[in-house]
């Protein structure tokens, strides 16, 4: 159905190009369930805007971040998107860090011809919504097979347990990918258990997988549950370690899991590891630590930072803040070095980030264990 695709907003965007600041909207939660992601993304975005503005801005204009909170609610997310576009007249939106709200917000951005760059949505069906929609994340579709292969070939895992958080779209999607990868690598899933986000009690699931003696645990949920899950696993005497996606990447994992997550592995396109980081990333980490009492940035802040930088570079290349123009340049991004890795947008605008970092928890800290190149 081609109905309802009104284009009356084109003129308002032209008006936005005329000011002396470039407005970029933040779409995310500061309150509610997903507040942690939103808050971190915003921190990164603000740091990027500061850096850009200190260096003279973009095309002679300063970047301004317009923030709004949607409280982790889809409905409000769409309202905020609409508000950012029509009232605040942003030229681009960074967000939402979660796939669900991104999927609800992206059609609005697409219809209004405003670029939406998610700094966190990793689920399927995001960039397909339209040619104004981007994301700068490491895709699980790329990383999960690479990591599965890695644990199989390098660590010799044959039997794994797979844990999914059923009310978490990210986790459900990731588990699908892992299930496929495990099969392709000739490994076996000996136990599958589901949990739910914000569960605290995993004794039943652990008891259920313990007897199956898996070589390792693939955990596709988030860090809070991951830490607690491993805690329970150790409590019940399981020795196997856990591997999971960037949903596990946070200091909270260690806070929750303590010794129990020692040896756990996490893949990601961003590692806040100063020892291995390049100059750019190192500077980002330092700056972040300075502004946040010494805590390390997580991938959301890094990706938020990169998102704004990507947009700025695209605007510079297009010499324009008109989304219709700079989105073309954005789509052309190739081997772009960001703080969260090297990014190339493929023809379908899906990002390719390489290498995949495999981190492991050692002495209560994330350390890069290995890197896997992906094509």
């Amino acid at each position: 159905g081609g109905g309802g695709q009104k284009q009356n907003s084109a003129d308002s965007n032209q008006a936005a190009g005329g000011g002396d600041t470039i407005k970029i909207g933040f779409l995310g939660a500061k309150t509610g369930e997903h507040a942690a992601f939103g808050v971190e993304t915003l921190k990164g975005m603000k740091m990027a805007a500061d850096d850009i503005n200190k260096a003279g801005g973009v095309n002679g204009k300063k970047i301004e971040i317009v923030e709004s909170d949607h409280g982790s609610k889809i409905t409000e997310g769409t309202n905020v998107t609409q508000k950012l576009i029509t009232r605040d007249k942003v030229v681009a939106i960074v967000g939402d860090p979660t796939t669900g709200i991104t999927k609800a917000a992206a059609p609005i951005a697409q219809q209004n011809k405003v670029v939406l760059l998610s700094a966190g949505a990793v689920g399927t069906g995001v960039v397909e919504i339209g040619d104004y929609i981007f994301r700068d994340v490491l895709l699980d579709a790329v990383a999960a097979p690479a990591v599965t292969k890695y644990v199989n070939q390098k660590l010799g895992w044959k039997k794994v347990a797979l844990i999914t958080s059923m009310n978490n779209d990210y986790s459900v999607g990731l588990s699908k990918l892992f299930r496929k990868a495990v099969q392709e690598n000739g490994m076996e899933i000996v136990a599958e258990q589901s949990i739910q986000d914000r569960d605290q009690n995993f004794s039943a699931q652990v008891t259920a997988i313990k007897d199956k003696n898996p070589d390792g645990i693939i955990f596709t949920g988030y860090y809070t549950e991951g830490g607690l899950f491993m805690k329970e696993a150790r409590k019940q005497g399981m020795k196997a370690v856990m591997v999971g996606g960037d949903g596990l990447l946070s200091d909270v994992l260690m806070k929750m899991g303590g010794d129990a997550v020692e040896g756990s592995m996490v893949y990601c396109g961003f590692a806040a590891d100063e020892a291995r980081a390049n100059e750019k990333t190192k500077k980002f980490i330092e700056a972040y630590k300075a502004g946040n009492n010494g805590t390390l940035p997580d991938m959301f802040s890094a990706q938020g930072y990169d998102a704004v930088m990507l947009l700025a570079d695209a605007m510079k290349a297009a010499k324009s803040e008109d989304p219709q123009k700079f989105r073309v340049e954005l789509a052309k991004t190739k081997d772009w070095q960001g703080v969260s890795g090297v990014i190339t947008f493929q023809d379908n605008r899906e990002p390719l980030k390489s290498p995949v970092y495999i981190l492991t928890v050692k002495d209560g800290k994330f350390q890069v264990k290995d890197t896997v190149e992906v094509k």
Partner: protein, 290 residues
């Protein structure tokens, strides 16, 4: 393995029961589903964390501090948000309670950040073996503490005059007052006890599952509430039974492979029980006399 799961379930159920008691007591006396109760539990857990990590207190003192704090908080909430609504429609305080609950959630998110906070170590993870069953020290503590608290409560309500005053006030404030009952005090007392139990539940759960978060009260509160209904809302032994029942059923459900439908199982059971016993397991059937 089954007995092990059973034990896990009982431990979980004991904490549900602690929270459920507050729901049941408050409901029993002012017929209010106190949706802010889950948030009291959450605040209790945070106070526990604070006592242990900042003031370096042991479990007992932290537990008592959390209970005392929440006692005051519960009483204050009743004063501010429910008492002015005592004589209005039944649903008015309910909405007020939802308001309080939203307020406390966001306040706590503001103070502590949205992420879960780890509960610092106060108890070592030592395991005791009893035949095939392993019981951790924490589980043991939970079982002991919650049993003691519930016994205490049972005693107070059953054998002390205030228990009867609570029942009388629950029916008719005015007539209860005409008996010389200080209705406000009885209601405050109810909130105090209920909140203290919730706080104890919060600290114990935080310790057991090692994490405390601003939104932890939502689901726990809801489930505890279901436990209260399951047992027969308003009935104190009912809340205990309902809590245990729910905890065990949930744990066994997950273990039995119904993990996908875990919450659905709990609620389906609730509906089924209600259909056959419309006032819960231990609820008194409603008499129809015209």
């Amino acid at each position: 393995m089954l007995t092990q799961q059973l034990l896990n379930g009982i431990t979980l159920g004991a904490t549900y029961a602690l929270i459920a008691l507050g729901y049941t007591m408050v409901y029993g006396i002012i017929q209010l589903i106190n949706f802010a109760h889950g948030e009291i539990y959450m605040v209790g857990a945070f106070i526990g964390v604070l006592m242990v990590s900042v003031f370096h207190q042991g479990l007992l003192i932290s537990l008592c501090a959390a209970m005392a704090f929440c006692m005051i908080m519960g009483v204050a909430i009743e004063r501010v948000a429910y008492r002015p609504l005592r004589r209005s429609t039944r649903l008015a305080p309910l909405i007020s309670a939802i308001g309080v609950s939203i307020f406390l959630q966001t306040l706590m998110t503001k103070i502590e950040g949205p992420q879960a906070v780890a509960f610092p170590h106060v108890i070592n993870d030592s395991l005791y073996h009893m035949g095939a069953i392993e019981i951790s020290k924490i589980q043991l503590i939970i079982l002991v503490v919650s049993s003691l608290l519930m016994l205490g409560l049972h005693f107070i309500v059953k054998y002390v005059k205030i228990g009867k005053a609570m029942r009388a006030a629950s029916e008719d404030y005015d007539t209860a007052a005409l008996m010389g009952i200080n209705v406000n005090r009885v209601i405050s007392f109810t909130f105090a006890i209920g909140s203290a139990l919730a706080a104890a539940g919060g600290v114990l759960v935080g310790m057991y599952f090692n994490s405390v978060a601003p939104l932890m009260g939502v689901l726990a509160g809801l489930k505890a509430f279901c436990a209260a209904v399951l047992g027969g809302i308003g009935s104190i032994p009912g809340a205990m039974l309902g809590g245990l029942f729910l905890g065990v059923a949930e744990t066994l459900g997950v273990a039995g492979g119904f993990d996908l439908y875990k919450d659905a199982i709990a609620f389906t059971m609730l509906i089924v029980v209600l259909l056959f016993r419309p006032t819960g397991l231990l609820g008194r059937p409603i008499q129809r006399k015209v």
